[in-house]
Amino acid sequence: MAREEPAFKLKISNLSLFVLYVNTTDMVQLKNQLDMRFNKTLDFFSNTPVALDLSAIANSGISPNFAGLMSFMLDHGMHATGVVGGSAEQREAAVQSGLGLFPDTIVKPAVKTASIPTIAPGIIPNAEDNQPELPGLGLTIKVATGEPNNSNILDSDTQLQKPVSQVPPTFRPTMIINKPVRTGQRIYAEGANLVVLCVVNAGAELIADGDIHIYAPLRGRAIAGAQGNENARIFIHSLEAELISIAGCFKVFENGIPENLRGKPVQVLLDCSDLIIEPLLN
């Protein structure tokens, strides 16, 4: 008797997953903030599986209305798949609503040193800062409980980003900054190029998904192609930077910037995953 071909395989895979941290049991507030955050970017999620982390509300004694939550998440293209954490009652209620159960805490995979992170490790926010993680290591979405920050200049705060694999190429107008970028400030040109006309001081950070042009001294950090665009370039009027990075390849200047480049106009580009800095004047 001939052996039957196996109809399935069961394997454990490590897939990146968005996690929505539920910080409140007030579903109206949550819905309003979700709407506010994602209404401008309607295509941010497209039937994307999302886990719900309930640890912040585990002690509230209230089980959120999972059916309602799932339905308005679906309006934004998020498929709630299961819950992480939460009290026994909350997990029971989640199962009743057709959600799966993840283990109690999220185990973050170790970053392999061999792979190039999508973004320089230095810009991953500290654990103490209450902010979403950046792509590459990204698996969290946090719903801010504060007011939305409309300013382009984010003070140690950052915008949500999408993992590399799901980037729909969208065109956005170039972001132009015409005042000094000071230490502690972070500017992110999401899905766009970034042009800076004033000095970028040490401790400041420029991030763009496209190119970065700086028509003044760059003393802080510049990270272009933040979502993995290897064709992104950085143009700098006067190179005095702490760090430059394109599509996750980065360079720090521990021993100072080479004499022939320091204070000079340069461009930075990626050539076969080598970061090249070349003078702009011939």
Partner: protein, 271 residues
């Protein structure tokens, strides 16, 4: 139209309180009705520098909590008729300051005073934030060393993004750079940043340079603002700062270069 001026720096120990005391005294000496407020709740110092620590009965927190009137808490300066001090509380913490309360006090002070000088605590926490939030102008006090310049840069970023003027979309806070504890000799020796180096990083207009001097410490311990010292370069420098702030033009920037000692001075071993 009265003005609110914050004296701020980010870093501690650079001379904010010394500057607040001398600057407000200088404004008052020119006939302006001036009040100086200590925002360093929990570590109050201004009253010591102004020499009025024994006259503190009520403080800004008492006024914010409505326990006493502003008039009861204000202390008249011993040196200048036009100057009043609103001390900080020593026994409370910085969270006792709230924006609504501070705004109420500032609005009440604006009815009487031409200039309201806010002496900010160090750091970028709530106390420093509250001190700068309502400012029209800012004196950013910086020492000629990298960490101080870096912290001033941070403060300038916060002023530009989070002050009331920035939030309300009004004209930005007018920023002035004040370099203190400047020692031209050490600058020449390459041990300190020069004024040009500092301006190159911070890129805001320079309002003055206060030389490093032992007399500042003596004045602090004596409870007399440095601007009142006789024959002192620090006092001259602070008077220049006040002059420039009031819009006087053509004041030369003194104390930036090493003074050449004359023959007799060298002969007599003068310092």
């Amino acid at each position: 139209m009265s003005k609110v001026i914050v004296v701020t720096s980010g870093k501690g120990g650079v001379g904010k309180t010394t500057t607040s005391a001398s600057f407000s005294s200088g404004l008052a000496l020119r006939g302006n009705k001036t009040v100086v407020i200590d925002f360093d709740v929990g570590l109050r110092n201004l009253d010591l520098i102004m020499g009025c620590e024994r006259r503190v009965v009520y403080d800004i927190i008492n006024v914010i909590n409505g326990e006493v009137s502003l008039k009861q808490a204000l202390i008249k300066d011993k040196n200048c008729d036009n100057l009043y001090i609103l001390p900080a509380s020593q026994t409370r913490d910085k969270d006792a300051l709230n924006l609504e309360g501070v705004e109420r006090i500032l609005n009440e002070l604006k009815e009487t005073f031409d200039f309201i000088v806010c002496d900010s605590p160090a750091g970028i926490e709530s106390g420093a934030f509250t001190a700068m939030y309502f400012a029209d102008e800012a004196l950013v006090v910086t020492n000629p060393e990298v960490s101080s310049v870096r912290d001033s840069d941070r403060i300038l970023g916060i002023l530009a993004a989070k002050s009331k003027r920035a939030v309300d979309g009004l004209d930005p806070v007018k920023e002035h750079l004040l370099v203190t504890r400047y020692d031209p000799k050490r600058v020449e020796a390459g041990e300190m940043l020069s004024v040009t180096d500092i301006q190159e990083i911070l890129r805001i207009p320079l309002i003055g340079v206060i030389p490093e001097s032992e007399s500042v410490l003596q004045a602090s311990n004596a409870g007399t603002p440095a601007i009142h010292l006789d024959k002192s370069d620090v006092a001259d420098a602070y008077r220049d700062v006040v002059g420039r702030f009031m819009g006087e033009e053509g004041l030369p920037m003194r104390f930036v270069t090493v003074e050449k000692k004359g023959f007799f001075k060298r002969l007599l071993g003068g310092r």
